[in-house]
Amino acid sequence: MTTTETSKRVETVNLSIPCASDYVGVVRLAVSGIATRMNFSIEEIEDIKIAVSEACTNAVQYAYDDPSNSRVEIECHLHPEQKLEIVIIDTGNGFDVEATAKSKQENSILSEDANLDDPNSVPSLGLGMTFIKSLMDEAEFISQPGKGTTVRMAKTI
């Protein structure tokens, strides 16, 4: 993990949280701790925190009809070539990744016909997946309807 370690293997930290918004911040803290120890720069750590936050938020918001008994799994793989790979897994409804990528932002706040009347239901920006792709060096979305979604992302120092 650091220069004092001679390990040339992938080391893994696993985290498993209830599928609830309360715990997304805990994941960010743990991941930022790992990234700090790997000696990522402050800017890189901020990028990683945002990307992880987006993926966990999506799992919390969209994966399950009833999230109350559901969980989100987070795997952090520390590669010896100073690459941090993070995998966020839910076993929820899944979604059509390609169709979503195409239609994104159509119902966004920023479109003129977005309905802003209900202050309790804020339309999303449709930026989550875009942020993950732009902030990380690698990003992959694998989703199967009824089986769940796996978001794999990685950044190298």
């Binding site: 938020t57 999303s124 920006l125 930026l127 942020f131």
Partner: protein
Amino acid sequence: MSLDFKIHITTNEIIPIVHVNGEIDVYTSNELNQSIANVGEQNPNIILDLTNVHFIDSTGLGVIAFNAEKCRRAGSALCVICDKPQIRKVFDASGLSGKSVLVVEEETEAISAIQTRGGSNDNN
């Protein structure tokens, strides 16, 4: 602790300022949305002070964009004070900074930006 989240409201001249402390994410953004909505009931223009915010993601941006767009449609303005490069960067990456959301670095800038763009509260 970085998971502490607090909001308090002050009023500078006639524009209320919503000061946020902590991280704006899926967990805390509801509270932020509620605070802005409450303030907005009394005042068309709003200043959002993110000086003490050290994290924001697209959920937080969504809440800010939602309220900024509401202000814009009503002919008023929401202005964000933000001096941290990493927070600023998120606004810029979203493409929001240019549109309904004004992002400035200081309170005085925020006041004059609102007075130019949103019109003063005196008009109501």
